[in-house]
Symmetry: C2
Subunit: 437 residues, 2 copies
């Protein structure tokens, strides 16, 4: 099975855990069987691999998400990186070109495209395999999976079907309706459009070449920013006469707001949280190193991380976006391909940062114009290069780096480093890189 997982959508609806660079699929709040918290991405990727260990999974995403993806599911995952955002049709074409030209997938093979962020059970992956089978049987050029609606939602697009059979030809697509219209659609057997498509690779390459002139993956990648922004539905699905949909009635949730996300949590709290007995229907996610205590609270979600804290009525949590758009703060915690950083403190005179690096990873050669830096090695063993001089470093070592001086850092074992940036004009943009990461 070839699966393209679309990992898109940065956003603030799950602030402070999600923001412009940290998408909701990276939030770790789902407890796995080993008792560890995992993200939607880890849950989805892990389930696919568990149910079909041979599955060839490619994540289609933007450059910004690559560090988080590698950090969460490892460096070996196949990633098709969009140089810029161009909506779903160019993204699917780029990922398909990646499969064809980089991974040498045959035109005859089937490909399933699905979003990375719904909350689903194992039966979802069984259904994906069935969908894959329908492509191989040539049931239609383009196969969809549609979700059996559970209520007349105004949040989803609808797929109108010819019959109520498990697999039916598609009549038409409907944009997000109002609730009354949604109820009428459902009456007529319509399904929610969850953005799940399957096809043979050759089919999609043909569609791609009809719209875009390109030679191969590298050529497409290079001209990607010149492509028209157009959705897959609009460019392909709505025009395709040979199109069918498979009904799916298993668990499938779109966890886009705090209210819906907390419904999928196994326990009411994550992290260091104490709830008084008089709390009811509250969920608390605490990613801070200090306790949170709730007393006499009902129907609320509290979520805290180094970027901020939200306390919201659950129902009202769907409407936070315009407020959060006004918050314009430096992001204090982020995943990197080499591990992660956390800004512990910053003021006019300096910034103190905790770097956690994974064994074998490196921060490449770079320099800063305006700030001096000091690295204090708290634990682990590493190797620094400062102005060409290589030095092995371990617990207790202090390395001072003057402004303008080139430096790099490699983690030999897992490394925990405190970095202190000194100077009045410390900002993230003050960096000059000397080799690609």
């Amino acid at each position: 099975m070839n699966i393209i997982l679309l990992s898109g959508g940065s956003g603030k609806r799950l602030w402070p855990l999600s923001n412009d660079i940290r998408s909701k699929q990276f939030i770790k709040i789902f407890k796995n069987k080993a008792g560890q918290y995992e993200s939607m991405l880890q849950r989805m990727y892990g389930s696919i691999k568990r149910i079909d260990s041979e599955a060839n999974v490619t994540v289609a995403t933007s450059r910004m998400q690559v560090p988080s993806i590698k950090n969460q599911i490892g460096n070996d995952v196949s990633i098709s990186v969009e140089p810029c955002r161009r909506d779903t049709f160019p993204a699917v074409v780029l990922a398909c070109a990646y499969l064809k030209y980089v991974c040498n997938v045959d035109d005859d093979e089937s490909v399933i495209v699905c979003p990375v962020d719904p909350y689903v059970g194992d039966e979802y992956f069984v259904a994906l395999k069935k969908l894959d089978g329908l492509v191989k049987e040539d049931r239609a050029n383009l196969m969809l999976m549609g979700m059996e609606p559970t209520y007349p939602s105004a949040k989803y697009g609808y797929i109108m079907t010819k019959t109520r059979d498990d697999v039916s030809d598609v009549l038409s697509f409907k944009e997000k309706p109002d609730e009354k219209t949604a109820a009428e659609y459902i009456e007529r057997g319509a399904l929610w459009n969850g953005g799940i498509f399957a096809f043979r690779l050759g089919y999609m390459m043909k569609k791609a070449h009809e719209e875009i002139t390109f030679d191969d993956y590298a050529d497409l990648y290079q001209k990607y920013d010149t492509l028209k922004k157009i959705s897959f539905d609009y460019a392909v699905a709505e025009k395709e006469p040979s199109i069918a949909v498979m009904r799916f009635s298993g668990e499938w949730k779109d966890l886009g707001t705090w209210n819906t996300l907390t419904e999928a949590m196994e326990e009411n709290t994550v992290g260091d949280v104490m709830l008084a007995d008089n709390c009811e229907n509250v969920h608390v996610i605490n990613n801070l190193g200090m306790p949170i205590f709730l007393m006499g609270i009902k129907n609320e979600v509290v979520s805290a991380c180094p970027d901020g804290i939200i306390v919201s009525d659950k129902v009202q949590s769907s409407y936070i976006k315009p407020y959060i758009d006004k918050i314009d703060k430096e992001i204090r915690v982020a995943d990197k391909h080499w591990g992660n950083f956390l800004i512990l403190d910053s003021d006019d005179m300096g910034t103190t940062i905790k770097l956690s690096m994974k064994a074998g990873e490196s921060i490449s050669y770079h320099s800063h114009e305006l700030r001096d830096e000091v690295w204090i090695f708290v634990s682990g063993t590493g190797r620094t290069v400062v102005d060409g001089i290589t030095q092995r470093v371990h617990t207790g070592e202090v390395v001072t780096i003057q402004a303008g001086c080139r430096h790099s850092l490699e983690a030999i074992t897992d490394l925990y480093v405190i970095e202190i940036q000194l100077g009045k004009d410390v900002h993230a943009e003050d960096i000059k890189r000397y080799s690609d990461e």
Copy 2:
């Protein structure tokens, strides 16, 4: 006017801002006329000094509070330090002995004793002056100030009076009653006992010598731990036949819970806080370096500092203590006589601390058995002594201190230092001091 401010009562009712070592009188949430936040202590001390610049104020407190007091109202304040807790009678006697033997106050002079933590307006201090005048007129051996009750509270003791005059002889004292009994007391003209007493110094020294054998302040201090725990009311007030009370009907609030404390806040928020329009009757105090956002919240208090976060229904906030007693976390932020510290991060391998030192202050000569330390000077100028070697330090300087090595630090200007403690057994008790602070 000689005033003894009793600064006692550590407690957790205002957690996380108050705790076992940080009392509520040090919480800075009252905006002064200059727009700066000040604590109950600063507000009380500043008001006394403003209304009577000649007032001789002595703070009677425990050793633990001395750094916070000096930090908040300066090094020049007169402090009578109790070597251990022995209830209010020994505390008042010790402070009076301090006035007599250390400050050379005459036996004839009047002394007012009052708690440091009620929330009061200027008329309170005018009343204290009037109380002082009544002592000087010898209206009675012991003068009290009683608060005109505003409701039949079960939280206070009551003073029963002979008449309803502005100044009346005292009939008796009543312990905290139930509400029904409280209403009966009020019907009979009773007053709340706010713990405010005034007398001539000689009177109190006589009472002291009747109960305790001691020569002078030093002698009393030295045997303080052998004294019986007994309240001032029980030891003196309830036995004194020449006792009168002055009625006070001005602003006087006991801000002992989040619910009552927030009533005295001028604005609904302190710190980086955003309230959505649909919030009602909420107060948020944010001492963290990250934003807090509230959406659709009503009748709640949120308070956050590096030691923890509380989200509580306002009425329920009176009942938090048994829950908070279960929280047993290292205190991450504290005032010291030299400034303050904030633990930015700590784990098995090391602890990162931000030290903010005030110009002219010092951390005295000490060493640690088990941990190495690194000081990184982020801003300011200071002087270190490490194993006898004096060094001037400024921005960007790094000083490494091995375990066992004696070291001290003096702030020449205001200093901002990052201290990194390295070692598996880092704990606050690992310190050996070589001179008194």
